[in-house]
């Protein structure tokens, strides 16, 4: 199957279940909200080595937020509900409560359950905290040096989908990178999804375990390395491909991840030098979801 002259491989992305939280961070200005959202979602590319997978979902203009200020929706994810509870508490408490002029609201529709992040953080007020009602939400006001921090008492979480992905294979790294940037820009418009890697883009691919170093849990996927294509016997890199980037997507549900993958592919194939689109899987035995590329269209 081809789109705009680019081969879409007959393969699938293997994705996994994950627990997802989704909150709105507002501030006096768009820039201040972005600063807090960025700090809170940093060090959050993959739970393989980071304490969470995290990213900015979308911007919400002032007239659509509970406090009439600009805000960013962020998503913080972990396979383990207890770890997610911890991460949400610390990332909000250390990176948003401490940031200038911020407030935090639940932004999860159809939550499976609620975490009591706000109800825990309110104790930081040492008795000076107050309970408010803002647009029908139970919100706590915590006095800080610079003024009062507002946070909704309960923040919803739900079972989501992690590891939706696509590989962009191009005639050189620059074309792969520009296409990946275009894909990330397109995915930003699909609400309910994040691309948690730096700038939304993954430069490395890994396989489970290692052939040479038995103590390793994961190592580079040599069959997908462009500089090893002439060295590795069963390389999966075609002769004309010299640059490969991956986009990894976490989302609220399978539909959101599929929409993001579709938007990403449609953007990537428009960049000259992109030769084919593939996806990563583990044979289908590890993840709960198999998202076939060709069925997206």
């Amino acid at each position: 199957m081809e789109i705009n002259g680019v081969e879409i491989e007959d393969t699938f992305a293997e994705a996994f279940g994950i627990q997802v939280s989704r909150v709105l961070v507002t501030a006096a200005t768009k820039k201040l909200a972005k600063i807090a959202a960025t700090e809170a979602t940093g060090y959050g590319t993959s739970v393989i080595g980071c304490p969470a997978e995290a990213g900015i979902d979308c911007y919400v203009p002032p007239e659509e937020t509970p406090d009439g200020r600009p805000g960013y929706v962020i998503m913080i994810c972990n396979m383990d509900k207890k770890k997610l509870d911890h991460e949400l508490l610390e990332r909000v408490g250390m990176c948003i409560l401490t940031a200038a002029t911020t407030a935090v609201f639940d932004w999860m529709e159809d939550a499976d359950e609620k975490l009591t992040t706000g109800k825990k953080l309110k104790f930081f007020g040492d008795g000076y905290e107050k309970q408010l009602d803002i647009a029908g939400r139970t919100v706590f006001s915590i006095p800080l040096m610079s003024g009062d921090f507002l946070i909704e008492g309960e923040l919803g979480i739900r079972s989501g989908v992690a590891g939706g992905n696509l590989f962009i294979m191009a005639e050189n790294p620059a074309a792969g990178l520009l296409a990946a940037e275009a894909a990330v820009d397109a995915i930003k418009a699909v609400h309910g999804t994040i691309t948690p890697f730096p700038g939304g883009i993954v430069a490395s691919g890994s396989k489970v375990g290692s052939n040479k170093y038995k103590f390793l849990g994961a190592s580079t996927n040599e069959k997908m390395c462009v500089t090893l294509k002439d060295e590795v016997e069963d390389s999966q890199i075609p002769a004309d491909v010299n640059g490969v980037y991956e986009i990894v997507i976490d989302g609220l549900d399978e539909e959101a991840v599929k929409a993001a993958m579709k938007a990403g592919i449609e953007a990537a194939v428009q960049v000259p030098g992109v030769l084919r689109i593939s996806a990563g899987n583990f044979g289908g035995n590890l993840g709960a979801y198999q998202i076939k590329l060709q069925e997206l269209f």
Copy 2:
């Protein structure tokens, strides 16, 4: 003591010893280097709740880097050397190795010792890694999907100083915030320092323990809360102060932290509406360093 009509209080910032790493992250462009540096230093405001204190120190133009590409110097800090080793490995491995076109070099002069971050990460190459010499440095090349990632084998760390700080007290939050932004901009020019909080600015202050909730290790410093000044008996907020922001500084040594505090104060006092500059301490019994504000000038 007054500078530009702003009272500099006769007090001191109490600072602590901390283990500091300092590495250079280069990439094909300044923007790509910034993306990786930002991801790697996120979720890093304070070791009270974050796994590290981290931030971007300075930009290094292409002609001054080992690989002739633009780069950012980042600092990652932890009180505990073992935790720092872990954080450096994971933040570099998950947030820089995975980012497009990056490389990592040791950027610590006068290191106390070296961590073998690069020598550990090279195993990810599963035998396809190579050892190179770049400008006299021992560097490992690790094949990835998108090309080869370079990282210096050993990365220096040293005993540094954490918790240098200053309080900006202003007639409203906006004046405090603008002065804090100006202070952070000035501190950026002092190499060997970071301001690890979101945008470099701290909106909240805390005290050890809690008066009301005995299970808490820390709670809001009600004496420094502007909205409680009429409610708390021994408030330290003067009647005309309605906005307080703090800058926290980590540095390679006491001299760097002092230079940063001085630059920050000189910038802050230029903003109309700033009334006084103070600093935070715990009576001098907890930290190894006492940096007196008035002796900076």
Copy 3:
């Protein structure tokens, strides 16, 4: 009338008729589209001294643009239709055609008439230009060094409204500035409007002519200068006001400008330290529109 404790003065903004063009600039990525849009709308604060009034209206995600790539809508305005024709041609030709990966589409609904900017620029192709149909639009493809530039043949213009405005009066400049930033962020969500001054904010106010220098067409409005409030006899600056910023708005029609003024005021009054909102007029004799502040609510 008060909103959130801030006095809304019983006055009106006096606005003028202006000819407005509105085009969509797309590119391979959001960042590249922003670069071109920014260059093309620079040096465009006020027709008093700039060759046009210009700014970025809004972002359009890839799935909503004719070529499936991210884009920004810009507006370029001039009182004189002939001058607008010239400005549109030069700003598109010199600042967008020359920018990497861009394309230009008409984005004016309900145009009064069409300028033939694209039909003129196509001659730059020196016979190698081609006519295409993209989503029902007549578009010209012009070969460049880096590839082909696409531009729609005709670009719509209409009679719009210039000089919608509001004054933010605050207890110090920082509070006025933060409120102005918040107002600009809110106005960004009102499509069909721009705030053409630097960052959307005006630091200076002027009156027609000069009292002292007869050769001047305009000079500072001393009655509105915060540093002259004790020096000028009939100063309009209240005793507690020490910072004033203005927002100027150009829009497709009066309704758009009103919506922008309303959104801006609602955002500004949320910032502590803001004391009152006013607007600028010339007694009502010069402009075609009188927009009363209190009637916006």
Copy 4:
């Protein structure tokens, strides 16, 4: 001649004399200074169609500026001294004086002569302006709504060099673009130079006159268009080249332009997919300067 495997053609860039102004724009924060500098240098790619060539040269940290605040150095250029006088006055008056918290200082060493921009703008103060001495500079303070605007009375200009350039020829547009971005990043570190096109990069090339349309003064250089390489008989695009971007440089003198070209080339050749570097000239008869590429190394 080859650098990093990339052919450096045996050709030269033909550059021209131009009148250059260079001023420092400071503000309360780095971000506010950047906003003003960007607005003032917009619509300034080439004097062929823009009223000036303009751009940001470099950042100056607070401790190195006359008023102790962060600033950006901008350059504004025109072939004609009278037009430069006009442009400097209007761009400063409309785009910097009107911007929040700014000040303007002369930043031209070795000026040929001085323009009296500040001495003219002071009349805007309508008699309320004051003359100050700041760090040995004669500066005027002009009262505005938001506070006082400072501008040095005289701003130096000198004979500089325009049109230094290099062509990056790559196997696809993305590789050319990434290399161009890297080149611009490298050139930013060469003080005394600007790259006036959008993002510093030129997507189009032109020739004098037109073969088909006799009324045109300039048209696309079809011999350098990648999409016409099979159609135009004497195309200068090699068979393997599918993307070409140009960098244009204006500088204070020939040495600065040469240093910028060298830095740009050294950065560009590091990007995989870049095949050759060339430069643009008109046979050597039009411009006063011939800068040979191979002699830069």
